[in-house]
Amino acid sequence: MKACKPARGIATRAAQAFAALSGWAISGLALAAEWNLRPAGSKVAGDIHDLHEYVMILCTVIFVGVFSFMFYSVYAHRKSKGHNAAQFHENTTVEILWTVIPAIILVIIALPATRVVIAQKDTSNPDLTIKVTGYQWKWGYDYVKGEGEGISFISTLATPREQIENRAPKGENYLLEVDNELVVPVGKKIRVLTTAGDVIHSWWVPAFGAKQDAIPGFIRDLWFRPEATGTFRSQCVELCGKEHGFMPIVVRVVSQEDYSKWVGEKMKLIAAAADDPNKQYALEELRKRGEQVYAKNCVACHQPTGKGAPPAFPPLDGSKVVLGPKEEQIRTELNGVVKNGTPTAMVGFGNQLNDVELAAVITYTRNSWSNKTGEAIQPAEVKALRK
């Protein structure tokens, strides 16, 4: 069936548009640097690269082979060329061949894959064990065994809101930078235990080929052995709510000496900054500290203005809870908000923030915007209401 020729004007214009689009696409291609898996930073990641390349080549060969037949047919067996249809519709030999040969191909793909699967699961005899806890929306790192045991911190997105909201130019590590990076020594076998404080998250470093879901109430593990120093960046990789795209993972691999130095410094810092929960703090001190805690933990939903985004995220400015009895607000902060037996997006921060931080942020909300209670909440008061 011959298609009618469209008017020349339309055809030319369509061709021009298509050429323009292709030019755009091609220039985009030239700019786009990312075609493949990230460079391997460990042997396992290298094995995955190799396996992927092997499978890609095999699949491409088969794909091209099969569709050469189809495209040849499209060319040579067309009615307009005068080709008349044969009427065969069976051929047992051929059918057996194209059942058995793919089966064999699958075996030669599955065998090398099996080796890597088993290697990836072997988390035995680690040099260092770190527990990673996924929270909405940040990571908690606890060094639980090995050099650095006892170090514990929260790692939060450090990219400023102005960049996300397009009010400032985006930095090179936009959405891939954190305040506290996970530091590990090169060449050592690192075992990571994953869990979560609320919903399912997933911890992943592509450079090491290691990914493991972080499941609340359960502990799973993964391992990696970084081969070279460097900084490796990644993101949470299981939908965990509103800010799922904003909780990156940054792993800094350093030499053994640098690691020991870092451990030493971290331990000193922890001791020095150890918030004394029995200390009495002044209002302004708490408020200032609370402003920082607020910026890191509350701003996404309740906004810097405290106006929130009702009805989903209530305002704190003028809020009954914030202006009401302090025990209510402390409990809300510790345990979250549950409506009719159903948890809400307001999770409890009791296991993410310490008593000083909680006291500080509550003090901040009670003394900011139009809220002027003049009250200072002390860490001891928070501690007393912890279950």
Partner: protein, 534 residues
């Protein structure tokens, strides 16, 4: 709407033929119809409307993803769009489209006068607009639509507002519609074939629907179970998926994917069926290896029940589990490969013409297979560890569900529109629709493979700068793809209203009962007397 079916095949002249259509006219006809052709039409129009609604959400998603930064939709709303795009497309667009084909075609292809349970058929349809409204209304409830992904994992679902409950209710209704429809299809095919129409003589389209209907009966109740358990966890104090209460979040995933994997074959098998009708017709040659196609389809259906955890390789299952599911999943490549080879062998040494149905069928063959290969890549655990929950997976399933199932649906519409309406569509416009769809589809989704390999996670409204170029290209492709579907709407309406009168046999090589034993357009009631088959 009553203009859609004109049983007498001549141009619209304002005659009132409503007395032939069950005694009602206008809107009441469509509400009360028990005629499989009418119901097929209802399903198809509903599915197209849902395709537009889900498509609008996709445009919103790609608009936000055009550049890094948050420009248009806050992350919460973005998650709602992502979720609803998935639910609407899967349950509101693609599945009902193929049920529409089943309703129109199965009775005609087996020589039956209608479906086994004609009134149940009506209810099965009307459940759908009600359920779809619930999904859309959820956007306007406090908290909005749930932002949990179409997979609705626990315990994230527990945090959602009342929109989640509306969605769960909608899912129940959608499931019930599918189950009732499947019961109808199985009963019709098993019990109402014309004498001489043995099972192994049926068009392959009927076989694929028979098998799909069994999958639906087995799998949809499982989904219903999973979301019911989420509902009770939310409101009735159970802890199926709550660790603090003694439950396990991963249990939800097991139950969901036990449904979820057969679900993707529920989407694919009817598409295979359509393509198995179109390719032989335009090759003027019988389908190669009919019996193998039946066995391969059955094998795929059975295997689909033992592979579900390949969606869960990173939950932390023991290595033996990962290996079992990897091996079982790679096995599915064998019967699928057999089908692809058989379609190519059908074309081989045929006498080919390339009207629009054939273009879409060939496009399906090429791109669905490509999607199948990325599925093979994903089935390998070590590689999946890198690609799980990244855009590589998004690319994979859009290849098999859009370039696969949707292209097959387009092929079916172009193929059967003459039989349904007695009118031809404009072939030039049809070809434009094909090429625009083909090109823009690939621009949109091919580059997403690279995004996944490079490490871009799924379900994020904003992304690091290295992902910018591919995202820009993908978004441009998406806008083009969306606009091209408006051309489809235009040409279908144009065909129905003022298309050239179709000849009795517009497709030389088509040889199933509706083409050989019925006039064009098919009469409102066909095969009231069973056909005599040689």
């Amino acid at each position: 709407m009553s203009a859609v079916i004109d049983t007498h095949g001549h141009a619209h002249d304002g005659h009132d033929h409503h007395d032939h259509h069950g005694g009602y006219g206008g809107v009441l006809r469509w509400i009360t119809t028990t005629n499989h052709k009418d119901i097929g039409t209802l399903y198809l129009w509903f599915s197209f409307i849902m395709f537009m609604v889900g498509g609008t959400m996709a445009m919103a998603i790609r608009l936000e993803l055009f550049q890094p930064g948050i420009q248009f939709f806050n992350p919460d709303l973005f998650n709602q769009f992502t979720t609803m795009h998935g639910l609407i497309m899967v349950f509101g667009a693609i599945m009902p489209a193929f049920v529409g084909f089943a309703n129109w075609q199965i009775p005609m292809m087996i020589g039956a006068p209608d479906m086994a349970f004609a009134r149940l058929n009506n209810w099965s349809f009307w459940l759908l607009p009600f359920a779809a409204s619930l999904l859309v209304i959820s956007f306007f409830t406090p908290g909005g639509a749930p932002g949990v992904g179409w997979t609705m994992y626990a315990p994230l679902t527990v945090q959602m507002g009342v929109g989640m409950d509306l969605t769960i209710f909608a899912v129940h209704l959608l499931g019930m519609s599918s189950i009732l429809g499947s019961i109808n299809i199985i009963t019709t095919i098993l019990n109402m074939r014309a004498p001489g129409m043995t099972l192994m003589r049926m068009p392959l389209f009927c076989w694929t629907w028979l098998i799909t209907a069994y999958l639906l009966v087995a799998a949809m109740p499982v989904l219903a179970g999973a979301v019911t358990m989420s509902l009770t966890d939310r409101h009735f104090g159970t802890s199926f998926f709550n660790a603090a209460g003694g439950g396990d979040p991963v249990l939800y995933q097991h139950i969901f994917w036990f449904f979820g994997h057969p679900e993707v074959y529920i989407i694919a098998l009817p598409a295979f069926g359509v393509v198995s009708q179109v390719i032989p017709a335009f090759s003027r040659k019988p389908l190669f290896g009919y019996a193998s196609m039946v066995y391969a389809t059955s094998a795929i259906a059975i295997l689909s029940f033992i592979v579900w955890a390949h969606h869960m390789y990173t939950v932390g299952m023991p290595v033996q589990g990962q290996l079992f599911f990897m091996y079982a999943t790679t096995l599915i490549a064998i019967p699928t490969g057999v089908k692809v080879f058989n379609w190519v062998a059908t074309m081989w040494k045929g006498s080919l013409t390339f009207e629009t149905p054939m273009l879409f069928a060939i496009g399906f063959l090429f791109l669905f297979t490509l999607g199948g290969f990325t599925g093979l890549v994903l089935s390998l655990v070590p590689i999946d560890i890198q690609l799980h929950d990244t855009y590589y997976v998004v690319a994979h399933f859009h290849y098999v569900m859009v370039a696969g199932a949707l292209f097959a649906a387009f092929a079916g519409i172009y193929f059967w529109l003459p039989k349904w309406t007695g009118r031809m569509y404009d072939e030039t416009l049809g070809k434009w629709h094909f090429w625009l769809t083909m090109i823009f589809f690939n621009i949109t989704f091919f580059v997403q493979h690279f995004l996944g390999l490079a490490g871009m996670p799924r379900r994020i409204p904003d992304y690091p700068l290295i992902f910018e170029s591919w995202n820009k290209i993908s978004s441009i492709g998406a806008f083009g793809f969306g606009l091209s579907q408006l051309l489809f709407l235009y040409l279908v309406l144009k065909a129905i209203r003022s298309g050239e009168k179709a000849p009795e046999k517009p497709w030389e090589g088509a040889d199933s009962l509706e083409w050989t034993h019925l006039p064009t357009p098919a009469p409102y009631h066909s095969f009231e007397t069973p056909p005599v088959l040689k």
